[in-house]
């Protein structure tokens, strides 16, 4: 079984997000693997372990640093890694989905995993767009996948533990909300070892390169309707103020 994982390298939201004009200043932000892609990589490796096959992780190299992410994916059990050398830090989901679709079509996938969403999916997620471009069905919000005899059984989550089980004939694109087991840990020593030996495939971006069709007018932190009253001081002083507040309201 040919298992593909399409990943996104996205601006880290752990740090400040500087703005240049009406969009992020992509030259000044750190890029990290989309957190939902950690789940989709894990789900792909779990499917391989249960049903056999090879896992190929493919992503668009926006800033020339995708190798680190691909090495980690290999350390977690992926078999092959491919980067699409776009070198365009501001490429939107539509562009990335277009390039990924061309690369993945050539791989003849049986199942394509993506993270269900990313925090920079302003113009939508790559999973449904890949499915549309590859003319495959898409199902997202998925929290488990079992593949038997050319068909997948997936659980899709709605909310609050309510969900539904679906049977899908392959090939299919799946948007993973959470893998059926928490993502495994890859020791740094193993990642380093792989970084020295792994061959990462390179593909030039191809296709129509069509973007999202959105004109940016502004990018800014939200204008808050209000702001929390902030407790200051040492952690002990903060704790004392919280406890006093709670006692005053009969909550402690």
């Amino acid at each position: 079984m040919n298992i593909i994982v399409a990943i996104k390298h996205i601006p880290s939201i752990a740090d400040d997000l500087p703005v240049n004009g009406s969009n992020l200043d992509f030259d000044s932000v750190d890029f990290v693997l989309n957190e939902f892609d950690e789940q989709s990589i894990e789900q792909a490796v779990l499917v391989k372990e249960a049903s056999g096959g090879t896992v190929t992780v493919v992503g668009v190299d926006l800033i020339g640093e995708l190798d680190n992410v691909l090495h980690l994916a290999l350390a977690k059990g992926a078999d092959k890694a491919v980067k699409i050398t776009a070198d365009d830090p501001g490429a939107d989901s539509h562009q990335q989905a277009g390039w990924l679709a061309e690369a993945i079509r050539d791989m003849s996938p049986d199942i394509v995993f993506t993270g269900v969403q990313a925090s920079n999916d302003l113009d939508g997620q790559i999973g449904p767009m890949l499915a549309a471009r590859l003319d495959l069905p898409y199902i997202g919000g998925v929290s488990s996948v079992d593949v038997v005899d050319g068909a997948a059984t997936v659980n899709k989550e709605f909310a609050g533990g309510v969900g539904a089980k679906y049977a899908v004939s392959l090939p299919v694109v799946v948007g993973v909300q959470a893998a059926s087991k928490p993502p495994r840990y890859a020791p740094i020593s193993k990642v380093r070892q792989i970084a020295q030996t792994a061959a990462i495939g390179k593909v030039a971006p191809s296709g129509d390169g069509a973007g999202a069709g959105l004109a940016f007018k502004k990018m800014a932190p939200p204008v808050a309707a209000g702001h929390a009253k902030m407790f200051t001081g040492s952690p002990k002083e903060v704790a004392a103020q919280i406890v006093e507040l709670l006692k005053g309201r009969g909550l402690a």
Partner: protein, 315 residues
């Protein structure tokens, strides 16, 4: 091209979601300004379809739409959009809408905006605001072209404006829905047996900042000292540190406790959807720009472990 606005409503167990009404209300306002109609689109049956304030309501009923099926819904919506050429197609940024909006965008070659918090018209031009980067930034964009597909965050518009009594008209599916590759098998109900966090008056809620499973105990001790229980944001549950029954937010449960004490939760829109109605929200986070401080009543930029331990000594 028309100036109509299509709202793809969503329902489960005989009830429409709030966001369906929110979108219909907004669509009415926008359609009136554009000189078009707000059209509520209902896929499937088993629900009272005559409760929207839309200009018209279309119900497409077919056995393949009896339960949510992304493939069947996609085919129907694509056919309707191609036939009627609405100015806007609105989806909820929900478990169902997220399967369809970007897909439709790629199928039709029309722009899509996700995480939508606001839509406005000035001089006939459309401006859409979107809450991206985990709620840390708001993007304002103008979709180019004749049609735009928007996926709207729940809670962005008032519910009441979309409630009414427009009589729906039933139509047959505009496309054949046989030979689907996706088949609904069965519903999955929530696992029973754990505490019901929606019934708790006090929640100590932990996020990614808790760092690891070994630190959950500290939050549990604090919750116990306060007479409450521990809940969490999605990353904590996805990491396996707490069971799914403890998850607050869009893909988890909606809670409205007297106290919601947040340790290491940044406040992404998906989490806010589940807790913003709590009576008293206190947030501890090391990132002073965390969006949660725009929502919490009280906050502190501090190390959650030190604050929690100090609170335990005082309780």
């Amino acid at each position: 091209m028309s100036n109509d606005i299509f709202v793809i409503t969503e329902h489960m167990d005989g009830k429409f979601s709030d966001v369906s009404f929110e979108m219909v209300g907004k669509a009415k306002e926008l359609a009136a300004a554009l000189g078009g109609q707000a059209v509520a689109v209902v896929l499937g049956g088993g629900v009272d379809v005559n409760g929207f304030a839309s200009d018209s309501t279309i119900q497409v009923d077919d056995p393949a739409l009896a339960q949510f099926n992304p493939e069947a819904c996609g085919k129907v919506i694509e056919a309707l959009a191609r036939e009627k050429s609405p100015r806007l197609v609105l989806f909820g940024w929900t478990a169902t809408g997220m399967d369809l909006a970007a897909w439709l965008s790629a199928r039709l070659g029309q722009p899509c905006v996700a995480y939508v918090k606001g839509v406005s018209l000035d001089g006939g031009g459309l401006t859409v605001s979107s809450q991206v980067y985990g709620g840390k930034m708001v993007a304002e964009v103008a979709p180019q072209g004749d049609m735009a597909i928007l996926a709207v965050l729940a809670g962005s518009f008032p519910v009441e404006a979309g409630q009414g009594s427009t009589a729906a008209s039933q139509i047959a599916s505009p496309v054949p829905l046989d030979g689907l590759k996706v088949k609904f098998v069965e519903a999955i109900k929530p696992a029973a047996g754990d505490v019901d966090i929606t019934a708790q008056a006090k929640l100590v809620s932990i996020g990614r900042g808790i760092g690891g499973k070994e630190n959950v105990e500290l939050a549990e001790e604090l919750a116990q000292a306060l007479g409450g229980t521990v809940s969490a944001s999605r990353p904590v549950v996805d990491a396996g540190w707490l069971p799914r029954t403890r998850q607050v937010g869009k893909s988890g449960l909606k809670v409205k406790p007297k106290l919601y004490l947040m340790l290491g939760i940044s406040g992404a829109p998906e989490h806010l959807e589940g807790m913003k109605s709590a009576e008293l929200i206190i947030a501890i986070n090391t990132d002073k720009k965390a969006p949660i401080f725009n929502v919490a009543h009280y906050g502190a930029t501090a190390d959650l472990f030190e604050v929690a331990e100090a609170m335990l000594e005082l309780l």
